[in-house]
């Protein structure tokens, strides 16, 4: 089963840029003097990134998130991925999440491609044994040949992306979270990557994509959420796909 349920979900970011908010010494001084000497630290500013969201996605749903910059799409994905815990409200996520956010994270330019496959795999929650079984397929798909045994700093940026993409799409996921449809490599690889990603998305039980590409969202998704300033302004269900 793959289910995502949110009830009055709120995410607020504290803003600490003002003097003293981040200083232990000042906060202590503040406490000791009752706020006479230093300005009141409790009087902090927050940005409400997600405001009372309610939604429910079930098995088979393909969810598209659209909205202008700063509308909360990426924050919502981060919340679903478990990075930010909601400040208020409930979020229930059932199923194993595979996040396509930051697929190059943790790669080390000093170590070889193969070692980077392991690094990325471990970050995605795979065990060493699981990666052992997949490493040949990944290497094959990335198609960068003997470069795999060289340090990653010798790669072109396109090659590094291909490797990252190959690892990211090598797992079977219950729930996929994606910020923009991933597209990497040269013309030939783009086709291959598209096919692979489509195949992965088709196999997944639930997919949430944030994108500015409305045509793609309309094409791929059966639920379209439009966000604006952290609020859901419209929910369209078009049960045409899946």
């Amino acid at each position: 089963m793959a289910v995502i349920q949110a009830h009055n979900l709120v995410v607020e970011f504290p803003i600490y840029s003002f003097t003293g908010h981040r200083s232990f010494k000042k906060s202590l001084l503040n406490l000791a003097t009752g706020g006479i000497l230093a300005k009141d630290a409790a009087n902090r500013v927050v940005v409400r990134a997600l405001d009372n969201l309610n939604f429910e996605f079930h098995e088979g749903d393909r969810v598209g998130l659209i909205g202008s910059n700063g509308s909360g799409k990426s924050t919502l994905l981060q919340v679903l991925a478990g990075i930010y815990e909601p400040v208020a409200g409930d979020l229930k996520v059932e199923g194993r999440i595979t996040s396509m956010l930051g697929i190059t994270l943790g790669m080390d330019a000093e170590v070889t491609g193969v070692e980077n496959i392991y690094l990325r795999g471990r970050l995605m929650g795979l065990s060493r044994q699981q990666i052992d079984a997949m490493v040949d397929d990944i290497a094959d798909f990335a198609g960068i040949g003997d470069f795999l045994n060289l340090p990653m700093r010798t790669y072109s940026s396109g090659m590094a992306m291909r490797l990252a993409f190959a690892v990211a799409t090598s797992v079977d996921a219950d729930i996929i979270l994606m910020d923009e449809w991933l597209s990497v490599g040269d013309a030939e690889f783009v086709q291959k990557a598209k096919a692979k990603l489509t195949q992965m998305v088709d196999k997944a039980r639930l997919v949430v994509i944030a994108s500015h590409n409305h045509a793609m969202i309309k094409d791929q998704c059966n639920i379209i959420l439009t966000l604006e300033h952290g609020k859901i302004v419209s929910t369209q269900r078009t049960d045409s796909t899946s």
Binding site: F13, S23, F24, K25, Q78, I83, E85, S99, G102
Partner: protein
Amino acid sequence: MVGAMGPLYGALLGQDVASYLQHLAISLIIWTFISGLINEAGTAFVGAEGYIKQVALPLSVHIFRLIAKNVVMLAHNALIIVVVLIFLPPAHWRDVWLFPLGLLLVLGNLFWISLLLAVLSTRFRDIPQLVTNIVQVAFFLSPIIWKASMLGPKNRFVADFNPLYHFIEVIRAPLLGEPIHAISWIVTVSLLVLGSIVAFLVFARLRARVPYWL
């Protein structure tokens, strides 16, 4: 450092050079490990901002990474201990089996200290600087370039009330074949238990806030 300081301070403090060199070498290496870890603990989460904001990993991963890195560095430096012990063997090897136990207890203590510092430093960014200053003072107040036995009974409290002394002692004394005072074990174990409880409670309460503070 050991080579430069050993003969000088040995003479200054009126110590037998061989036994002082042995003491200093081991103490400095243990201290480098403990202080390095504590100094770095404050940046464990701040430095891993990229990871924390993009992957939902347990935050303890970053503490384990920090400890693993410092243990590897300790293992490199430990070569000096081996060389020193070959040329200047300890009084006896009877207690050497206690060394891994002592190290393990100290590692446990360093874990909760690091966790606590990492969480608090994420919120209050001036804590790492504060810690650096405290660690610097602690170096002089702890029996590293001097020995606790030089204190004499009247001043003994300087060492006994210093938890870092006990941390160093449970690692160092087994290697030097010196008797380990029961109090060192008691302090190390009780701090491990108490500190872990405190760190756990603080962490449980503030864990969810860490990504927001980054």
